[in-house]
């Protein structure tokens, strides 16, 4: 057993990094979101403004659109990724030659940086260089509509996100699925349950915590989504695909509006913490 002092010592290096470089900046950002502190506009007297920053953000139409966008984005993509990923894992349950190769290939969309995939998809679907014009024409079909219009940009972003994450979900679920003992499957089949019923009664109870964690991972990523969208659409057209993450970046580094940038960032943090809290509650409830 280590003495208490020794145990604390183990955390010292970590604290040396995290406290000055994570906790303190975060605290600073939190505090200044209640003031009119503007580092990019020197010479201003710093005043305490209470919740003004937060309120003005909430009144900003662009931000509200961003929140709506990200809600749609997160809900649609996460559900599709979970269902699709699970389905994929179920498909791959039975071992076959080359399965590990397939698993590896399917991991690629996630392993590759979102910047790269965002760019790839961007020039796959945009009007100038996209394939959507060439191939239908070649096959004599009418060309597909331009996918980055105001109406279709968000669905397109959702689809690319699903493309990216669904195989990843499969990758995580498959080991868990394989860990289910075969006799449980057999028993369910003997009882005459249809496939969906089998899944519900055999797999899901065991995989509950895993699915919960995966959901949280996906949600956190979707809520803060930034690089993917930036490369794919640049937040547009207009504000069709702006997310709070993108909004925050824009405000801070393009418009040099520190207050707006930090404050909107904290909205995102609040949302993720909320989701995390739900997770912790549900996880602990299941464990008892």
């Amino acid at each position: 057993m280590l003495t208490r002092r020794q145990r604390m010592l183990l955390f010292v290096p970590l604290a040396l990094l995290l406290v000055p470089f994570l906790l303190l900046p975060a605290l600073f950002g939190f505090l200044t979101s209640f003031t009119n502190y503007a580092p990019f506009q020197p010479g201003q007297l710093v005043r305490f403004v209470g919740l003004d920053n937060y309120l003005s953000i909430l009144h900003d139409d662009t931000f509200r659109t961003a929140v709506r966008n990200v809600t749609v984005f997160a809900t649609a993509s996460v559900s599709a990724e979970l269902i699709g990923g699970f389905g994929l894992a179920y498909l791959l349950r039975e071992s076959f030659r080359g399965r590990s190769i397939v698993r590896f290939l399917l991991l690629l969309p996630w392993v590759v940086s979102p910047v790269a995939t965002g760019i790839m998809w961007h020039f796959l679907v945009n009007r100038e260089s996209g394939m959507i014009n060439y191939w239908p024409a070649l096959l004599g079909l009418p060309s597909l509509p331009y996918l980055l219009t105001f109406e279709l940009a968000l669905p397109t972003a959702i689809v690319t996100e699903i493309w990216r994450k669904m195989p990843f979900v499969m990758f995580l679920v498959l080991p868990g699925l394989l860990a289910v003992p075969a006799d449980q499957w057999d028993q369910a089949r003997l009882e005459g349950l249809p496939v969906l019923g089998q899944i519900r009664h055999v797999a899901l109870p065991r995989l509950r915590l895993l699915m919960l964690t995966i959901t949280l991972l996906l949600l956190g990523d979707a809520l803060g989504n930034f690089e993917n969208i930036m490369m794919l659409t640049g937040g547009g057209p207009g504000s069709a695909t702006t997310t709070p993450g993108f909004y925050s970046y824009q405000k801070a580094f393009v418009a040099f509006n520190w207050a707006a940038g930090t404050t909107s960032g904290w909205f995102i943090v609040a949302a993720v913490l909320l989701v995390g809290l739900v997770y912790v509650i549900m996880a602990r409830r299941g464990a008892d």
Partner: protein
């Protein structure tokens, strides 16, 4: 895909039954195969297209064609430009990326393993679960939320446009992963070996260094891979903290638009270069990625 072998003795009733079963077996599996192939193609499609485009001329890259020689004339121009005339910039960006990723990984895994061993092995007053939950919350936190105060701090410290600054930033961000992965491993792993070493007279540090660490190699590899991949692909902090000297590669990939508009040939080549490393890494350690991610996921 093979059907059952034919029996030596078969009743008249059994034979048609088995034949039907064999056929159903093949049809079901064929469908699964088909689904798998389609999904794999969809997953790989953008990469294939990028590969093709990297060999196209500027004009042809707007075509949307796919098959070289049949539909367009392939050219090495993009690749030559990337490594030839643009070579210096490319190499510097790649070096930056490598330095940052290696540095951040070393820091994050070192610090994380220490803390993870402590968390997994021993009890803490605040409550191990609370600490773990805290680290977990870090893991799900999108970096965009903390980047802004970060910038200000680094500006004060003079760490803007400095590789060291990015190492610190990436280490901070990947540290929770390392802690969680190592903690899960140590929490699961029976401590008999470590206790035995203690009885044999090893110091606590000796136990850590000579017994715990070697056992933990799979988890360590997983942590290293994850930290490295994240740092290599990291874009947000890089775009904000690096201006000229410390530019890592993702910035180059994104900055492929020139006066002539986005040169898709360059985009493709740079993207393919950028993804080479993560792809090779994940090929080498596929098993460990699953273990590492699943460990963190299953134990919460």
């Amino acid at each position: 895909m093979a059907s059952t072998t034919s029996p030596t003795v078969a009743s008249a009733a059994a034979v048609p039954q088995r034949r039907v079963e064999a056929r159903r077996l093949t049809l079901g599996r064929a469908l699964i195969w088909l689904a798998v192939i389609i999904v794999t193609l969809i997953a790989l499609f953008p990469f294939i297209y990028a590969l093709t485009t990297s060999f196209k001329t500027q004009r042809a890259s707007y075509d949307g064609t796919l098959i070289p020689w049949l539909q367009y004339e392939p050219t090495l121009a993009n690749w030559q430009a990337e490594f030839g005339s643009g070579g210096q910039e490319t190499m510097r960006a790649l070096t930056n990326s490598a330095t940052i990723a290696i540095g951040a990984t070393i820091v994050a895994t070192a610090l994380g393993t220490l803390a993870g061993w402590g968390l997994g092995r021993f009890k803490y007053g605040i409550g191990n679960r609370n600490l773990v939950s805290w680290f977990l919350s870090q893991r799900f936190l999108p970096p965009i939320a903390t980047v802004i105060p970060f910038v200000l701090l680094f500006k004060q410290l003079g760490l803007i446009d400095n590789v060291l600054g990015l190492i610190i930033a990436n280490a901070t961000f990947t540290l929770p992963f390392a802690v969680l992965i190592m903690r899960d491993f140590f929490a699961d792993f029976p401590s008999d070996l470590q206790d035995a070493a203690l009885v044999d007279g090893a110091s606590q540090f000796g136990v850590f260094w000579r017994v715990a660490l070697p056992i933990a190699t799979p988890a360590l590899v997983a942590a290293i891979i994850i930290c490295f991949a994240f740092s290599w692909n990291e874009f947000l902090f890089a775009s904000v903290l690096a201006l000229r000297n410390a530019k890592p590669y993702p910035l180059m990939v994104a900055g492929s638009d020139t006066v002539r508009g986005i040169v898709f040939g360059f985009v493709s080549t740079r993207m393919l270069i950028a993804i080479t490393l993560p792809v090779v890494l994940s090929l080498l350690v596929q098993r460990y990625i699953v273990r590492g991610l699943a460990l963190g996921a299953v134990k919460g």
